[in-house]
Symmetry: C2
Subunit: 325 residues, 2 copies
């Protein structure tokens, strides 16, 4: 078999562990090192872990660094810093800051002659690809994105900050009736409330006023006030047993018109038992693409929009034409 | 506005007419000429039609020729011939012959320095892209394609060849129960019969034996024998009124596993009122991409696997990152 692509993981949380698992399903890739800000000896992996400060010593020994940190504080710093040293892939997902982040990573990667794939995963990522494809094919149309059913980390964090809440998990749930109206070609105008429900499972602190907690959650601006929100109180054991998984998914629909009045609907959907494991699997496929782009002589920041699907596969172009076209 | 991409249509059947309609939705493209083997004066279009023999005179005046002929006899000849003169896009869909066709068109296009996008549309085309993407992200998994509900031209042609049949239309229908088993993550083994039903609407000739016709259809090898087939007899007026449209669509599903045992499902689906208009809309988006690839200095045959989605859109890369990522 051909030489393996040598991968490093930067940051070993849920996403980093998912990347480790995805690499095991990809014989053309090899995980060589994990880099962490924690004590490297505390990392529970078969792969050797190092301090993130030592990453620079691996130039020439690692091909692609998969950056598994968060978008709020980790990636704005690590993205450009690692692009100066390695090919990189990340899942930067602060939509409004993507143009600015792209420029910073692009400048760093062009200076070093590296490829950096930014903002992959499923949204941004696969959902963005679906939106672009559907809009390009059906320019006269309307696009809808429904998220869930799945756990929203941002909303779960928000409910855990409420006074009297010990622990909690929030599910975003698409309103089935709204999805079906779009699928029927009706092209409805949908309010925020009509598109998604929010459901919360809360462990209250002893003696806390449950009605006050539920009230505060339901009226929280931005997070809940514009939605119908259902609040359940459960005990800690139930929360752990029934709400520890991280399912997610969603659907991107475009309903367009061609010719005189033909309704044409394009739909892309994900149903995920594990959001971080799936996101990790997307990152790993784009790590392969980053390496292949670099072999072709490319440099700079790239997004999913710039990368042909053929580069995501370990198969050759001729094999793909024969087997999958 | 920037200069428009100048398009020619070769072959003015259902697909060619669909391309004409799709170009009207794309202000960055302009239809300049239609080429036909029929009498050009018989073409019912506002755009001027010419004999296909005169196409060569348009070198320098047309950027991309969209080849709208059939895969059986038209494209094997026209694909390489036009690739010697223009950038081209086609929907060659004889799966088994794609590798050979690719080589022929590639040689012609490389010699002329042109770009030729072959085998676009939705299957091959968008469905192929979905299969590749899903396999690259979920290497441990199983892929299912369901077609329909829609009119199959090949099967409709087959029933019209049966003795005593005056006219007829055949619908391919996915078995909902099978689709739902796949969506549930069960990864079933499905026989041909379990995946699709076939439904025929037949106008019989006067005095024909309907039971004999239905029997012959239901037992036709390859086309019907492996399926449950329902045959309805209707009069010519009903067939015309209720079965003249050309709806189609389908679903590509991949159900895979990540980590210890997380089920992850990727689904791509189309629901089309008009199969030829939708296929045409895909061809037009790839005509834009062919032109952009050529501007970047590319040459040779390309498939959907080789073309980044960003090139399908009239928007700039920066605008796409800002609006759609």
């Amino acid at each position: 078999m051909a030489e393996q692509i040598r991968i490093g993981i930067v940051g070993y949380g849920n996403l980093g562990r998912g990347v480790e698992l995805a690499i095991k399903q990809s014989p053309d890739l090899r995980l060589d090192a994990i880099f962490t800000r924690r004590n490297p000896d505390s990392i529970p992996s078969e792969t050797k872990a190092y301090s993130i400060e030592d990453a620079e010593k691996f130039i020439g020994d690692i091909d692609v660094m998969i950056l598994c940190g968060g978008s709020a504080t980790d990636l704005p710093e690590q993205g450009p810093a690692f692009a100066r040293l390695f090919h990189t892939v990340d899942s930067f997902d602060t939509h409004a800051r993507i143009p600015e982040y792209f420029e910073q990573v692009d400048a760093a990667a062009k200076a070093s002659g590296k490829i950096s794939v930014i903002s992959t995963g499923w949204d941004p990522g696969l959902f963005s690809l679906s939106r672009l494809l559907a809009e390009a094919i059906l320019p006269e149309g309307k696009e809808y994105t429904f998220w869930g059913k799945g756990v929203s980390q941002g909303h779960s964090d928000a409910i855990r900050r409420v006074n009297g809440v010990k622990n909690g998990v929030q599910y975003t749930i698409p309103v089935e009736e709204a999805v079906n109206r779009v699928r029927s070609g009706e092209n409805p105008e949908l309010t925020t409330r009509e598109k998604h429900l929010r459901e919360c499972y809360i462990v209250a602190e002893e003696g806390a006023n449950q009605e006050a907690i539920a009230d505060e959650i339901r009226n929280m601006p931005n997070y809940f006030a514009d939605y119908d929100t259902v609040v359940h109180f459960v005990d800690e054991a139930t929360l752990k047993a029934e709400h520890s998984a991280m399912p997610h998914g969603g659907t991107v629909l475009r309903s367009g018109k061609t010719g005189a009045n033909s309704t044409q609907i394009i739909e892309f959907g994900l149903t995920l038992d594990s959001n971080p494991e799936f996101t990790a699997s997307v990152l790993v496929a784009y790590a392969r693409a980053a390496y292949k782009l670099a072999q072709e002589g490319g440099a700079g920041a790239k997004t999913v929009f710039d990368i042909p699907f053929g580069l995501l596969s370990p198969k050759s172009a001729a094999q793909l034409r024969k087997e999958l076209l």
